[in-house]
């Protein structure tokens, strides 16, 4: 009987359901992700709800100018996610929930984002050693 295919286990899965504007939660999620990456680990983020708005390609690379710091560079959330995926070299991934995406009309994700049906959430949880659920519904 042929052996089964070995499944990759991610070190950390963050299920991010909190809205980006609701508080510091996105900053915390990104900081925690980067800390795990800095240790050599791997992280997946599953973005649900309004967190699916973060990776729209319509944001461009920067936020609107800060008039108190016009020379400052403030990357957009989609640019941050794109950079983390690139720098992670396979150790960082961002998944957008397709149901939440469709509900909000937020269908223009950057191409680095993987689209997944909520029916695959349980499978995604099984594929991680540790799962944290950040935010409310």
């Amino acid at each position: 009987m042929a052996g089964g295919m070995e499944r990759r286990l991610w070190d950390l899965l963050l299920i991010l359901t909190a809205a980006p504007h609701s508080g510091d939660v996105v900053t915390s999620a990104l900081r925690l992700s980067q800390a795990v990456l800095d240790k050599g680990g791997s992280v997946r983020v599953w973005a649900c709800g309004y967190a699916t708005m973060m990776t729209q390609d319509t944001f461009g690379d920067t936020k609107l100018p800060n008039t108190r710091d016009p020379e400052g560079h403030y990357p957009s959330p989609s640019a941050i996610v794109r950079r983390m995926i690139a720098d992670g070299r396979g150790r960082f991934a961002w998944i957008a929930c397709t149901a939440c995406t469709e509900e909000r009309g937020a269908t223009h994700h950057i191409p680095q984002v993987r689209h997944r049906s909520p029916l695959r959430l349980a499978t995604t949880v099984v594929g991680a050693r540790q799962t944290l659920y950040l935010g409310g519904a």
Binding site: S28, V36, D38, K39, G41, Q130, T131, Y133
Partner: protein, 118 residues
């Protein structure tokens, strides 16, 4: 990754992350008291206060923090969240320790560590 450490047999290791302020309703205090119950049951408990959760570490007036310390839990405070709220070591409870996010990353990648975010 670093070598993973397993908790002693018969016990578990919990890393409880509290992001809510202690005014956010009864759930915030209840979550910390869950940590007290786990510690009193003999499990290893580390509580990581982050975002508005760091306010629970101010001074000595938070009974949940006192009870966590008495039960043997380790109470960690996210240095970034504390700095963002103009808190420093002198304003915090003597039972807590300021740490960076690397401490959370290390704990959450330990073997059999059970992480919960509230």
């Amino acid at each position: 990754m670093d070598a993973r450490t397993a908790p002693p047999e018969g016990t578990a290791s919990y890393f409880l992350i509290e992001s809510k302020g202690n005014w956010a309703g009864p759930d915030a205090g209840a979550f910390l008291l869950d940590g007290v119950a786990l510690a009193e049951a003999g499990h290893r408990v580390r509580v990581f206060l982050i975002e508005d959760g760091v306010f629970s570490a101010v001074g000595t007036g938070t009974p949940e923090v006192e009870r966590l310390a008495a039960a043997g839990a380790e109470i960690l405070v996210d240095d970034f969240s504390a700095a963002q709220r103009a808190l420093d070591g002198t304003t915090l409870s003597p039972h807590v320790r300021l740490v960076g996010m690397d401490a959370a990353a290390a704990a959450l990648t330990e073997e059999d560590c059970r992480g919960v975010w509230h």
